[in-house]
């Protein structure tokens, strides 16, 4: 069963993430919208750290996070995601699950600021470009 996370933006509940636990130890998180509040990390970071705890408890192998449909994310929103990636990399004695980030290479902010996350959390985070629709 899917659950939905949403965060306030400057014009309302502008960012949504649908979390779908899947079979074979793989969860999927589909994100869309915009994060542009100045203090976005104060809402994003606690939710993602709670999610991290759930992922560790569930014993999954991998979570696929599709950010390709996210229109924009400010540095405060990114900070919330970075805190999660670093927690996955270093807490509990090392990565307990892998995070696969899917990004849209045509969006400059994603191609630049998401792809470097592999350098920040090299054991936990892998980044790949979205597949083009046929």
């Amino acid at each position: 069963m899917s659950s939905q996370l949403s965060f306030q933006g400057t014009t309302g509940r502008d960012f949504k993430a649908t979390v779908t636990p899947g079979g074979e130890g793989v969860w999927r998180i589909d994100c869309h919208g915009t994060i542009d509040q100045t203090d976005a990390s104060t809402s994003v970071q606690p939710v993602l750290m709670q999610l991290h705890e759930e992922l560790v408890q569930s014993g999954i192998n991998r979570v696929e996070v599709d950010l390709a449909a996210v229109e924009y994310m400010n540095s405060s929103g990114l900070k919330g995601f970075i805190a999660w990636f670093l927690a996955a990399e270093y807490s509990n004695g090392g990565p307990r699950y892998a995070i696969e980030l899917v990004y849209d290479p045509k969006k400059t902010w994603q191609a630049v600021s998401l792809t470097v996350m592999e350098k920040v959390a090299p054991r936990a985070v892998k980044v790949r470009a979205m597949r083009e629709a046929a």
Binding site: G9, T10, T11, T34, D36, Q37, T38, D39, S41, T42, Q45, P46, Y72, N74, S75, S76, L78, K79, I82, A83, L86, A87, P105, K106, K107, T108, W109, V112, S113, V116, K119, V120
Partner: protein, 168 residues
């Protein structure tokens, strides 16, 4: 000798320090730079940089007097963009902004960004220093801070960037 082809466009916005201004600033700059340069990558980098600067100004302003300026110049097919924000700030922010800008300027852009990213767990949850490092790395802009009393001016200058890049 071919004559130099030069175009300059600018905008200056005075606005109150309100969150609801942020998205409008970012989206209007995407349009502004696209119309001028037809370079979507440059428009994205400049708009992100402007949004981060304006966010800082809105977040730390102690008076409603926030100013944003953009000057874009194209000389022989290369665009150079200068962004500025001005706001009044608390004394402790005035003290720290110059130090943060100097720290962001150390090493190359990626080194600086990764340094700030790796420091995220040590920062308070609502600290925003990452934004200035992002301007240098993702925005490919150099930063300067000018302080006069409680008035803070942050300036970002882009490197010359070729215009009229078609989307991939």
């Amino acid at each position: 000798m071919t004559p130099e082809i030069s175009t300059t466009a600018s905008m200056e916005v005075h606005f109150s320090a309100e969150e609801r201004c942020l998205r409008h600033v970012r989206l209007s700059i995407v349009s502004f730079i696209m119309v001028m340069t037809e370079n979507r990558d440059l428009a994205s980098r400049v708009a992100m940089s402007a949004a981060e600067l304006v966010e800082n100004a809105v977040k730390y302003a102690t008076s409603p007097k926030v100013v944003f300026r953009l000057v874009a110049k194209i000389v022989d097919g290369a665009a150079v963009v200068r962004l500025e924000t001005e706001n009044d700030a608390r004394a402790e922010m005035v003290d720290s902004v110059q130090r943060i800008v100097e720290d962001v300027g150390r090493g190359d852009g990626m080194d600086a960004y990764l340094r700030f990213v790796r420091a995220v767990p040590e920062q308070s949850i609502n600290a925003s220093q990452l934004g200035l490092a992002r301007i240098r790395f993702e925005g490919q802009m150099d930063l300067q801070a000018e302080i006069q009393g409680q008035r803070v001016r942050l300036i970002a200058n882009s490197v010359p960037t070729r215009t009229h890049i078609e989307a991939a």
